[in-house]
Symmetry: C2
Subunit: 213 residues, 2 copies
DNA sequence: GAATGTGAATTTATTCACAGCA
DNA sequence: TGCTGTGAATAAATTCACATTC
């Protein structure tokens, strides 16, 4: 193990780890106990050396001549991704997208716990979203400190996204998943990842247009 | 203009074009008529040469010593992305995510027209989603041919995603935006882009974990 | 003088190919 | 023998730096 600190892990490796993890869990569910980089590579249409190299940034997880233990690999990758703890998540913006996310069960299973939901509008504050009630954004600061919120999913309208993210950053929320189609600059150091559906559609449009001439 | 056919445009350039387009529309809305690659680069925190090189795969859109006309650039990039036409889109899966997407106005403005929405479940078929009614997936094939559907957004449960995407591909839908957390292999040649929220959260987790040690 | 467009240089990512070990 | 782990080779993407044009 040379590279145990994550300093020089290529940016492209990180989302791939999530991909490997998903496929490995699928294999485990099917009762598979052992897998080679070659097999895994075939399943997700990738180069086998790529997979081995990605692992090599973190340690040696396999056995030469044999392959990888599925459960072992799941544990190792989970650890690499910081998933052997749970993270507290809030949703800011209780519109359609926000409530859709709130009701999705999948995140909790991965260790992302939805602890609160916030909105600016009086008409939705107090409404139930399954396991809780929508709170006023005025309560955000106190709530985030008290509940040790790690991640915010921002599903407010585009016009409010910048101010919302600045606010969250100032409050001390260190990571944001932003669904508004705006790239936000922040003075404070905060991780922002963008979920940009228009941009995805445009990429499809580009390749469709190329195909059709 | 050397590279008018899109054959050798780097994959990473395409989503950046969408990003430029958004910022340029924002500038236009503010009444800005001219912009330099340096200014644009500062706004989106990118290298200016990167922007110029991205454009250079398609042609020469600027004026030396002067810069770029905002409207001209919007038109050129729209053309590059295949956005000077409209695309017909369906949503398959009328759950929370599907209906949230259906009600979002933003796509229509970009030339992506929602023409239909489908589900397997009898309990939601016939329900209204704003501009139409949910149809049975049994009608998919006929509908897609009649309405010349270009793109499907797939928001069915993970367990049904693979079969749904195979079906859409067989029917002749050439591009899919998949919200289910499964990477799908298809025999037929179809463009699939993945919107993977768990994976995004895991990436945030990775970097958060690194910060906190 | 100012900013584009682009070869060349650099950096980053992927793939090859093989030594090392079960 | 079979598959990992990894330096070396290759490919891709980014950035530099400057000739070119307004």
């Amino acid at each position: 193990m040379r590279n145990v600190d994550k300093k020089d892990v290529p940016a492209v490796t990180v989302p791939r780890l999530a991909l490997y993890l998903r496929k490995l869990r699928e294999l485990r569910a099917r009762g598979v106990e052992r897998v080679s980089s070659k097999d895994l590579a075939a399943m997700i249409e990738l180069n086998a050396a790529q997979i081995r190299k990605d692992f090599s940034y973190f340690g040696e997880f396999g056995t030469r001549g044999v392959g990888y233990g599925v459960q072992r690999l799941i544990d190792e990758i989970s650890h690499c991704l910081g998933l052997d703890r749970s993270w507290n998540v809030v949703i800011v913006g209780a519109g359609l997208m926000g409530t859709a996310l709130a009701r999705y069960r999948g995140f909790g299973e991965q260790g992302f716990h939805l602890v609160g939901m916030f909105d600016r509008s009086e008409t939705v504050i107090g409404a139930s979203y399954g396991a809780g009630r929508v709170r006023s954004v005025a309560e955000l600061e106190e709530f985030c400190r008290a509940e040790k919120v790690d991640i915010a999913m921002v599903t407010v309208p585009a016009t409010e996204a910048e101010a919302t993210i600045q606010h969250l950053a100032a409050i001390g929320v260190r990571a944001i998943l932003n669904f508004a189609p705006v790239k936000v600059r922040t003075d404070v150091d905060v991780l922002v990842r963008q979920v940009d559906l228009s941009s995805e559609l445009m990429s499809l449009s580009f390749y469709l247009d190329r195909e059709q001439g």
